[in-house]
């Protein structure tokens, strides 16, 4: 007997959030109510053809040293040029050391990658912010702070956390190196239509919970695959009450549940944040822009392909226990037992994660000792994150033997923090105050975990070896990271009182 099974999209398990369809979806017609993401998408279609992906115009292309060298090479080899260097911006972040930045980069291969970017941006006339420049920083921190990230734009970067920029109501997503080359050459990108997904967080957050806890709770709900094939829109009272920086933290981690992008409709909070930033529109342009931005909301009656609803009043401080960001629990909980998972795949993954993480089921998270604390990354290295951590550190002392790194997201964040005296608070408490960059988020520079070391990190990925080979990463908010540095085990600021 010969078995014939139809494509998986017809066989998705009942109740599954996941639809693997890669067939082009039909775009909504002119009069139909549209979602935020559909509106921004439609505004950028350069060319549409039946059965083909849409050709979308790219408003802003962010470039960094890791995913660009092969793309620039491709441009040169094919005799093409960069179509719009004036819509492209470049910085060095992944490889840069966070100490002694007045000296050349010691790691030769890192140095070569950074030098290659400097040469490429020079050759093609792209603005580049080198190490030591106050505008240099993590690529997803500098776009927003320069005012280059604005509502309704399409923004791409050879980096999966480009979703961060969606906090402004931009359609922003990560692309691969071949696509970087495509954007450099054409200022467009070929994209098959995506599904739409709404994630509504109702109610009001309890005192002590932060944007990071919101997104970790969402990950606990959706798992690592719940957003695959969709653009997520975060909505509801909890999201609306977040600051722009909190919204960036939430959108930053959209890719961790597999979403193509995460977006939040622009509102007064967005406009107030943008007004007066260096690249924000001015005068009549500002009025025209705001008038347009106000239309960028999901229409009444628009339908989402998937919907997730969370009760924000139940979101307490969260911490990951495993080796993917969906393996997350409340800090008040115990390390889960693999037996708690009905799905054999999840059970298997839990077993492997506990072994790698060196954890025993049933141990209260509050009793797990930590030896390293990292406060930084494009998830949590902006000024409000540093303020939240400093508020906890103030007048306290880091636990003996604890290694701590506080790494601002950019030169401007560092400057602002120092103007507010936050550096002094950190240093007095025993934290290490560093220069801007990605740092221990992915350990491409000298900041690494050693085998078996355990960190509380404000970054976005707890994959095996992410922060150094054999290192064990737990994702937390800046407030929890700071409290943990002081307590020596996972703790909330409340626990220190």
């Amino acid at each position: 007997m010969r078995m014939f099974i139809s494509p998986v999209k017809h066989n998705a398990p009942p109740g599954s959030l996941h639809d693997v369809s890669s067939e082009p979806k039909t775009p909504p017609s002119g009069s139909e109510p549209k979602t935020l993401s559909q509106k921004v998408w439609e505004e950028h279609v350069v060319h549409r053809e039946d059965g083909q992906p849409d050709l979308l115009y790219v408003d802003l292309h962010l470039v960094h040293e890791v995913t660009s060298p092969q793309a620039f090479d491709g441009i040169r080899q094919s005799g093409r040029s960069v179509r719009r260097p004036d819509l492209t911006i470049s910085t060095e972040d992944h490889n840069v050391p966070t100490e002694d930045i007045d000296k050349p980069i010691a790691d030769e291969i890192s140095a070569k990658q950074v030098d290659t970017l400097r040469a490429n941006t020079e050759e093609f006339g792209i603005t580049h912010y080198p190490m030591g420049d106050k505008n240099q920083g993590i690529v997803h921190v500098i776009g927003p702070e320069q005012g280059l990230t604005q509502p309704g734009m399409t923004i791409v970067c050879g980096d999966s956390h480009t979703s961060t920029h969606g906090a402004f109501g931009a359609l922003a997503f990560g692309i691969g190196t071949s696509e970087v080359e495509h954007v450099l050459a054409t200022q467009t990108l070929l994209q098959p239509a995506q599904e739409t997904m709404s994630i509504t967080v109702n109610g009001e957050l309890p005192e002590g919970s932060t944007a990071k806890d919101v997104v970790l709770a969402i990950l606990g709900e959706c798992g690592t695959g719940g957003g695959i094939g969709a653009i997520a829109e975060f909505r509801g009272p909890v999201i609306e009450a977040l600051s722009m920086e909190g919204r960036m933290t939430v959108c930053n981690m959209s890719i961790e549940f597999g979403a193509k992008a995460g977006m939040i409709a622009p509102d007064e909070t967005t406009f107030a944040y943008l007004e007066g930033l260096p690249n924000a529109p001015k005068g009549a342009d500002w009025d025209a822009a705001v008038a347009h931005w106000r239309t960028l909301r999901t229409d009444e009656g628009a339908k989402f392909d998937r919907e997730v609803v969370l009760d924000g009043s139940k979101i307490t401080p969260h911490v990951t226990w495993g080796t993917n960001p969906g393996q997350v629990i409340s800090l008040a909980d115990n390390v889960p037992s693999p037996d708690m998972f009905d799905d054999p795949v999840a059970r298997d993954a839990a077993n492997r994660a506990l072994e790698y993480m060196g954890l025993t089921a049933g141990t209260p998270m509050r009793e797990v000792p930590v030896d390293t604390v990292f406060i930084g990354s494009c998830t949590n290295s902006r000024i409000e994150d540093l303020r939240a951590a400093a508020a906890v550190a103030k007048g306290r002392t880091v636990k003996d033997g604890m290694r701590t790194l506080v790494v601002p997201g950019s030169g401007l964040v560092k400057e602002q923090a120092e103007a507010e005296g936050l550096d002094k608070i950190f240093i007095d408490a025993g934290f290490d105050w560093r220069e801007p960059g990605c740092s221990m988020c992915l350990a491409m520079n000298p900041d690494k975990l050693k085998e078996g070391e355990r960190s509380a990190s404000t970054s976005n990925r707890n994959f095996e070896g992410r922060q150094g080979r054999g290192g064990r990463t737990h994702l937390v908010s800046p407030a929890v990271a700071a409290a943990t540095a002081i307590a020596g085990t996972f703790a909330t600021p409340e626990d220190l009182r």
Binding site: S22, P53, T323, M444
Partner: protein, 197 residues
């Protein structure tokens, strides 16, 4: 990229879920500025372990990588696709792929075959039991066939990607055929949009 029509051969069973791009190619390897030489970095942290499946003689020379669910989640690094390809794999099979990884596969001619969890489990067990089991992935017919198991399943591959795979076409060249549309779109962009200098 080179055209691909049919991938025929044996498979390596990598029986783990959530194999993310940090596992496929650890970040140390991302420092290179070349596009080749990534084969040695493939699963670098696991390859030191002599019991790791890719170190088993019976799986040498396989050209299909059989992964668990959620294969290729995580970062946008295309290096993950280059590493898999340069090691000698022409196709990857999983019940669910990380979306950026899957898209990157389409840019390089690596065939990403998404199957149901049942088929994936069945293949995994069969290849573990018999490393010589032959698989055929046909891009033209969009099918995965394993004659010894009497399996023939179809998989999703959009017409656009299939066309490029079969003809080995480069996206940029195709897009530049629409240069006039890009020019006219560009000239109508609102004045308030920012520039970077």
């Amino acid at each position: 990229m080179d055209p691909v029509h049919i991938v025929q051969g044996t498979a390596v069973p990598l029986d783990r879920s959530d194999v993310d791009t940090d596992q496929i190619i650890p970040s140390d390897w991302l420092k290179r500025v070349e596009r080749t030489g990534f084969d040695k970095g493939l699963f670098a942290e696991w390859r030191d372990d002599p019991t790791f499946v890719m170190n088993q003689d019976e799986y040498l020379g396989a050209n299909v990588l059989l992964g668990g669910p959620n294969f290729g989640t995580g970062s946008s690094r295309e290096h993950a696709v280059w590493a898999i390809q340069q090691y000698g794999f022409a196709a990857v099979v999983s019940s669910r792929f990380g979306p950026i990884f899957r898209n990157n596969c389409t840019k390089n001619g690596l065939v990403a075959v998404e199957v149901t969890p049942e088929i994936s489990d069945q293949l995994m067990a069969a290849v573990q039991a018999d490393p010589t089991l032959e698989l055929t992935i046909d891009v033209e017919r969009r099918t995965l066939e394993v004659p010894a198991l009497d399996i023939e399943v179809s998989f999703e591959l959009s017409d656009a990607v299939q066309h490029r795979f079969l003809n080995g076409l480069d996206d940029i060249g195709l897009t530049l055929q629409n240069q006039a549309s890009i020019d006219s779109f560009e000239s109508a962009r609102p004045a308030f949009k920012p520039i970077t200098r």
